[in-house]
Amino acid sequence: MSIDTSKVASSNGTKAATASKPSPAGSLATWADDRLGLATAMKKNLRKVFPDHWSFMLGEIALWSFVVLLLTGVFLTLWFNPSMGHITYEGSYEQLRGVGMSESMASTLHISFDVRGGLLMRQMHHWAAMIFIASMMVHLLRVAFTGAYRKPRELNWVIGCLLLLLGTLEGFTGYSLPDDLLSGTGVRAADGFLKATPVVGTYMSFLLFGGEFPGEAIIPRLYIIHVLLIPGILLALIAAHMLLLVYHKHTQWPGPGRTEQNVVGFPMLPVYAAKAGGFFFMVFGVIAIMGGLMTINPVWKFGPYDPTKVTAGSQPDWYMGWPDGLLRIIPTGWESVIFGYTISWNVMLPILIVPPLMLVILMLLPFIEGWITGDKRDHHLLQRPRNAPTRTAVMVALMTFYGLAWAAGGNDIIAIKLDLSINQITYFIRVAIFLGPLLAFWITRRWCISLQRHDNGKLLHGYETGIITRSPDGAYAERHLPLSETAAYTLTARDRDEVFHANGETDAAGVAAPNTRSEKLRAKLSSWMYVHNVQKPTRAELEAAHHHAEHEAELQAGLDHPVDGHQFDDHHLRDADEVPLRGDH
């Protein structure tokens, strides 16, 4: 489709940039197309439309911080020496001069204190990793809360969950590399986790560490996992994630002219390319400033790893905090010996069972929801969180679980900073981790339903103007005014929910219906999911309410100074002759 560019800034040119005679670029394009057939592949994609919304930018932050991770990571590899060979540090950092340490620690100090820009790159790398994982999580929440994971995007959701898992593992292997006291303590805990694995755990630990902990193999092995294995898989999955995004086309918010059948937005070339490209520089720039101004992981303060030492307040990076918190709230003594073999429930449960289980639950969410609703249609319009109260509440319950587990991972810090008893914090979280999500579920769902009622109120009775009028007989009432057609349409552009009812247990001929049990379960779940939801008003309800409002207006028409209320809010209409401009208040 073509755009009226008559008024577009003249610097943009009003004519298409077709050269009259072959330019060097043109001949190069011809040369390439003769061999690669690029024109066919690009004719649609160059002007591919992307819808615009701030929340669609969250995944982009993750993508660009990954690019920053690749760039800064390559820089670091030029000096980093992933060796556990023992040497005596003789570099610039005076406090550690003459101290024995591994070559990986010494080369980390060398990057930090003897390579110009080295500390900047180290800190940028670490900050970019934080932002990578944080933005993936927030992006995941956005996708879940808006129902963007529904068909046909379930597999992209699964890929996204795997990216989060791999990003976390990549982070752990990365911060273990300097072989400082803090990260070494983390590696020793990881050794404990491996050893808690039934049957094969001890051998897994010995094989990974090349013998007894700590050995001399772990850092080089983590290094190759960190710089080759996981980044390779991450890159492949990110590529798949993006390809599916392009194939499905991005979801969009409902609104006038924005339907399940179309996508409304700006073309890839030039607007989206410019916005996304510019955004890369902004993400890069913010990370550079953070790397320059904010100290992160000052390994020189922790000192080299020594298996007999530890610092108080030992914490993993924040994204590993929630399994660590679960580990901390396990009550004393959860270990059993069966037939002479030790089973460490106190480690297995919080590390080897619950986190993988949570990941599986997360990945299954769209499939569970799809099964309950029986909705097999493609969905391209996003839902507001309030319009899927049960889904929103489930996500908030999961977030509450995560948040409480994460807080438990910092129970020592909380105790110190707030001068509380660490035991009491732990007892509290042991209970709250079960009750908190239930409470959060209930509050969130009621909250969503209230917001749905509020939306219906606006549709039926108009929005609140804040203007109080007094009737001739002295009654006070707040003036309500009808929503604009655009706003009203946007509020109603959603499907009505319908509770699934299982068919009777037997059909007309008295034969038991197949799958009765699962159908019954589905009917129950469907009812649980939908039955409290508030549906949008019908046309008849809307007309009745508007008729009522007109009647009210008629009653007030006889007032001396009829006020439509628009004088007092910013909904007043412009003079129709004036050219409406944006950003011109």
Binding site: Y93, L119, P256, G257, A274, A288, K376, D378, L542
Partner: protein, 372 residues
């Protein structure tokens, strides 16, 4: 059964969109009725920006963008200046607790990048065409005829291969490829080559009868009479500090680290009356001096925080708390077992020595722990 009939025509050109539904049995799924109760008013008209209609605004935007790009160039040059003018090394904490070089490089690089980014986005927002475009979606699924053609091609291919008709060939082929997993797994055996895979090492430490307890940093032996009530001493086996005098063999590399990780102990002294029977006060302690493994029985962090009044020691990793007066029983936190106790005595010169190795494996639990 399809919902297509109820669906409004929303394409801007008025054509109904192809849209495949797998409704079938899902007849309870409500029809898509976005036109209910309000009809789609359609895309709002495009609004012109000041930069579209006002040449002054347009010029201003151009100047703003160019200014950002120029400032970005200046900042990049300043980066180079900072690179050569600030030393790293001995001024590592001169500014904001960091090297002036790091701060200057980060700020100039970041400013340059941010200015380029904002410049490009400003360009996109102010000067590039901003009319929204409409593109029609297509169902994610392939058209039915494509599916049929693919299945036909697949069947033709499989049929020509004849694998399905020759189960012997099929099964042996699957078996052959499957058995290839064995070499793949076996190849990993030498991740821990030779007897470094001997897990029975977990049951032994350097401690043996008559070995002195020495301070963990300097390696000096500890006189029982020097240990005060309330002291906590981090100690190690004397064999960690081999010398000609004590005659212990040199330890190197991985072995030294592993022994260091296993042999670490804490020595505390408390009033002998406070020690419970669990500590075996008559057999394993010396006048209220008692010695435990320093390695937490939870996941193996070295424990460190000693509270003298309660004689509790806390692991800083996951807050397991052990009562040292009561055989290091776990009084709080996720650990399941007490810290192993090292039986000690004094030698003729009055120094603390071990009676034997630990009587159980130290540190984190593992599957075969009770079997070693």
């Amino acid at each position: 059964m399809s919902n297509d009939d109820n669906r409004p025509v929303n394409g801007p050109d008025g054509t109904p969109e192809p849209y495949s539904d797998e409704t079938g049995a899902q007849s309870h799924v409500p029809a898509r009725t976005p036109a209910d109760p309000i009809a789609d008013p359609g895309l709002p008209p495009h609004l012109w920006r000041p930069t579209d209609v006002d040449p002054k605004a347009e010029k201003r935007a151009e100047r703003q963008i160019a200014a950002m790009f120029i400032a970005a160039m200046i900042s990049a040059v300043l980066f180079v200046v900072a690179y050569f003018s600030f030393e790293v090394g001995d001024n590592w904490d001169t500014f904001l607790g960091m090297g002036s070089s790091t701060v200057a490089l980060g700020v100039t690089l970041g400013t340059s990048l941010l200015l380029i980014g904002t410049g490009i986005i400003h360009l996109a927002r102010k000067l590039m065409a901003d009319a929204e475009m409409v593109e029609m979606r297509h169902p994610a699924a392939s058209p039915p005829e494509d599916r049929e053609a693919t299945i036909a091609a697949l069947n033709a291919g499989l049929d020509e291969a004849g694998i399905g008709r020759r189960p012997l060939v099929r099964n042996t082929m699957i078996g052959a490829v499957g058995v290839l997993g064995l070499p793949a797994v076996v190849l990993l055996r030498d991740l821990a080559p030779g007897d470094s895979l001997d897990i029975s090492k977990l049951a032994h430490t350097l401690w043996k009868p008559e070995m002195r307890l020495v301070r963990d940093v300097i390696g000096t032996p500890i006189l029982a009479s020097d240990v005060e009530v309330g002291d906590l001493i981090n100690a190690a086996p004397e064999a960690m500090f081999p010398s000609e005098e004590n005659g212990y063999p040199e330890l190197e590399g991985a072995e030294e680290q592993a022994e260091k990780a296993k042999g670490a102990i804490i020595i505390v002294r408390m009033d002998p009356d406070e020690l419970t029977a669990a500590t075996q006060p008559d057999k394993w302690t010396v006048d209220g001096i008692i010695c435990y493994s320093k390695i937490c029985t939870h996941v193996g962090c070295p424990i460190s925080l000693y509270e003298r009044t309660t004689h509790h020691v806390l692991c800083p990793c996951h807050q397991s708390t052990f009562d040292l007066a009561d055989g290091a029983k776990v009084v709080f936190g996720p650990a399941a077992r007490p810290l192993p106790q090292l039986p000690i005595k004094v030698d003729e010169e009055g120094y603390l020595v071990a009676q034997s190795d630990f009587t159980e494996p130290i540190g984190a639990s593992f599957w075969e722990r009770e079997k070693l």
